[in-house]
């Protein structure tokens, strides 16, 4: 599984350009399921068929990662940019980004009176080009770059870019691998464009038309020095979502997850996320409604180039999903 995580987080896959990630996941999932296909929005849908009258359960993890989009190239070859998803200008200082073709860029900023005046429009990307022409030979307006960072495993903890939500993708893959028999028809859906408004999940949920949905994504923690108060910690197990800005977990799904975790002795914690959304927000409002919950992997420093998760939590999430999928629903 660690190898899958490493591969996934080092891929290039900003919102709207998830193809590379989709290709990789297609190869990995193909032997594990009965069918894999991509839809109009680029969502990858992998189906493990169930018995004739099986309920359809949709698991969703998003493939896309945040990035920056090029909006201007000046005569000296400097690039201006805007954000794709939630990127803080302050996080970008001193970072490197990578474009689809492998071009590396670094961030610089105009002179500022005070650092708090920093915003994207005062920043630029330098790819080492000396003229507009030289820059344009590599980069076009509209191209998107992602954090350039390698995977690091230290003890039980993974440090990497785009764990949000490649770690969710890894959990889905591992769940598919470990799931032997299920009374359900399981849709492993790797969604697109989550970071700009839960978009891929919306059209995927419409076409899958599931009976139940479970989103798998990262969530914040409150276990770092002087952190925002939140009762989720790294290393304390799978987080079962109560609510976020996009969804209030259906009580029946929440109870199912909690009761399964208790019965199987899987470590879990309850997640009340005050800000932020997940694909569950889109899934539960699809058509005439889909009871939906979410299993979250606790993560620190989300949306930075160095997000951190605990492999024990990841394993707990997989165990919980496998246990839920192996058993009849209620």
């Amino acid at each position: 599984m660690q190898d899958v995580i490493k591969q996934l987080v080092e891929l290039y896959g900003p919102t709207g350009r998830e193809d590379e990630v989709a290709e990789y996941i297609t190869e990995v999932m193909r032997p594990l399921v009965d069918q894999v296909y991509a839809d109009t929005m680029g969502n990858l849908i992998a189906i493990k068929r169930g018995p004739a009258d099986a309920k359809k359960i949709m698991l969703a993890a998003h493939m896309d990662e945040i990035g920056v989009i090029i909006t201007d190239i000046d005569e000296h070859g400097f690039l201006r940019f805007s954000n794709v998803g939630g990127v803080s200008a302050f996080t970008l200082i001193g970072q490197r980004v990578r474009f689809a073709d492998g071009t590396i860029g670094v961030f610089g900023q105009e002179k500022l009176d005070e650092i708090k005046d920093l915003k994207y429009s005062k920043m630029f990307i330098d790819i080492g080009a000396t003229s507009r022409e030289e820059a344009e030979a590599r980069i076009n307006i509209g191209d998107v770059a992602v954090y350039h960072r390698e995977y690091t495993l230290q003890g039980q903890r993974v440090i990497a870019k785009s764990l949000d939500d490649r770690i969710g993708c890894a959990v889905l893959i591992e769940t598919a691998r470990r799931l032997k028999e299920s009374p359900h028809e399981v849709y492993f859906v790797f969604t697109t464009q989550e970071e700009v408004g839960l978009r891929g999940a919306r059209t995927a949920a419409y076409s899958v038309d599931p009976d139940y949905g479970i989103a798998v994504d990262v969530t914040d923690t409150g276990d770092t020095p002087e952190a925002h108060r939140m009762a989720v910690s790294l290393g304390k197990g799978a987080a079962i979502k109560v609510k976020d800005s996009s969804v209030i977990t259906h009580p029946a799904v929440k109870d199912l997850l909690v009761n399964t975790a208790k019965a199987q002795g899987i470590a879990y914690q309850m997640e009340v996320l005050e800000r932020g959304g997940t694909d569950a927000g889109s899934i539960h409002l699809s058509r005439s409604g889909v009871p939906t919950g979410a299993v979250s992997i606790p993560a620190r420093y989300i949306h930075s180039p160095s997000e951190m998760v605990d492999l024990g939590d990841v394993d707990d999430c997989v165990k919980l999903l496998v246990a839920v999928l192996e058993a009849p629903l209620i």
Binding site: G16, M41, T71, V84, V196, G197, S207
Partner: protein, 335 residues
């Protein structure tokens, strides 16, 4: 001139009657067009293809930002609020037309003589502005202007030169104009031109239109913000007037389908049509709602650059409008 009639027609979001009637009349006069309206008041103009192409939906919104009368003072002055995004600083001392009968009015405020010095440092608040239609008292005003009446800017379209025109509501009557011109031609593909309502209050019309039509692909034609003006650095130009139609790279509500954008670039190059990218990622368009309809619809956005949108007078280039028509026409011909 059709563009002038489109620009001058009233059609504040939710009360699009006049602009809708004009569009229906114009669209009906195009060959082979069949018209439908829906529960929200969208106009759908269907035109069957000559061949076996895909079903293509073109959208442009017919509604405009404006004002709504929400109260009447004893003096007969009208209290109002904005419909859609309006910078209240642009409203001061403008002429307006109130309601379907287009009663002339002016937006009044406290004159400079009566202000304290530091009052001038803050913009007038909504409650410090009012519409004066000349009514003598509440009774007279209420008879003429029921609550909920919408109000538009009293701007007539003018050509400043052979190239440049100013008018109100160019966002998105230029798009409506483009669609009406395109309906004059025949295509192999099935074409549905959707003139949508309520874009300015949350992209409300386009979603239901897309749901009803379920096209194979869609292009959204907008009048978008141009910021090629003094004191904005060049890298801050969202679009520039006169440099051709602008292709969206990403905005707040959608990331266009890449194959469509690439195809449009190809067509533009082949036909020698100037294009630019819309380089701002802010703002939302109907494309956002269309893209997420049902199982997903590939969509791209093409915009005519307009300076000073959402104000009484925006500026656009006629050659940009023509180039937009040429680009979409050439694109449709490839399908």
């Amino acid at each position: 001139m059709l563009l002038a009639r489109l620009s001058e027609a009233a059609g504040v979001s939710g009360q699009e009657t006049e602009i809708r009637d004009l569009i229906k009349k114009e669209a009906a006069s195009r060959p082979g067009v069949e018209l439908k309206t829906d529960a929200l008041g969208n106009v759908l103009a269907y035109k069957q293809g000559k061949g076996h192409g895909p079903k293509v939906m073109l959208t442009a919104h017919m509604d405009e930002v404006g004002l709504m009368v929400v109260g009447v003072e004893d003096s007969g002055l009208l209290r109002f609020k904005p419909v859609g995004g309006i910078d209240r600083r642009v409203l001061v001392a403008k002429q307006v037309l109130v309601g379907p009968d287009k009663i002339p009015g002016v937006i009044g405020s406290k004159p400079i003589h009566l202000q304290k010095r530091d009052e001038r440092n803050t913009p007038f608040q909504w409650q410090e502005l009012y519409i004066d239609i000349g009514a003598k008292d509440k009774k007279e005003a209420e008879k003429l202007v029921p609550l909920g009446t919408t109000t538009i800017f009293a701007t007539t379209l003018q050509k400043l030169s052979d190239e440049i025109t100013i008018g109100k509501a160019l966002d998105d009557r230029v798009g409506c104009y483009v669609l009406l011109e395109l309906l004059a031609n025949d295509y192999d593909c099935d074409l549905v031109c959707a003139f949508t309502v309520q874009e300015e209050v949350g992209l409300r019309g386009a979603g239901v239109a897309a749901y009803a039509v379920t096209p194979d692909l869609a292009l959204n034609i907008e009048g978008t913000t141009a910021s090629d003006v003094p004191d904005v650095p060049e890298h801050g130009y969202a679009t520039s007037v006169g440099k051709g139609p602008a292709l969206t790279i990403m905005d707040r509500t959608s990331i266009p389908a890449r194959p469509l954008v690439e195809k449009l670039q190809e067509v533009a190059e082949k036909e020698n049509i100037p294009i630019q990218f819309r380089r701002a990622t802010t703002g939302g368009t109907d494309a956002g709602k269309i893209q997420l309809t049902k199982g997903g619809i590939p969509v791209a956005g093409i915009s005519v650059p307009c300076r000073y949108i959402h104000s009484p007078a925006s500026v656009a280039s006629l050659s940009d409008i023509q180039a937009t028509i040429s680009l979409v026409k050439a694109f449709l011909r490839t399908l």
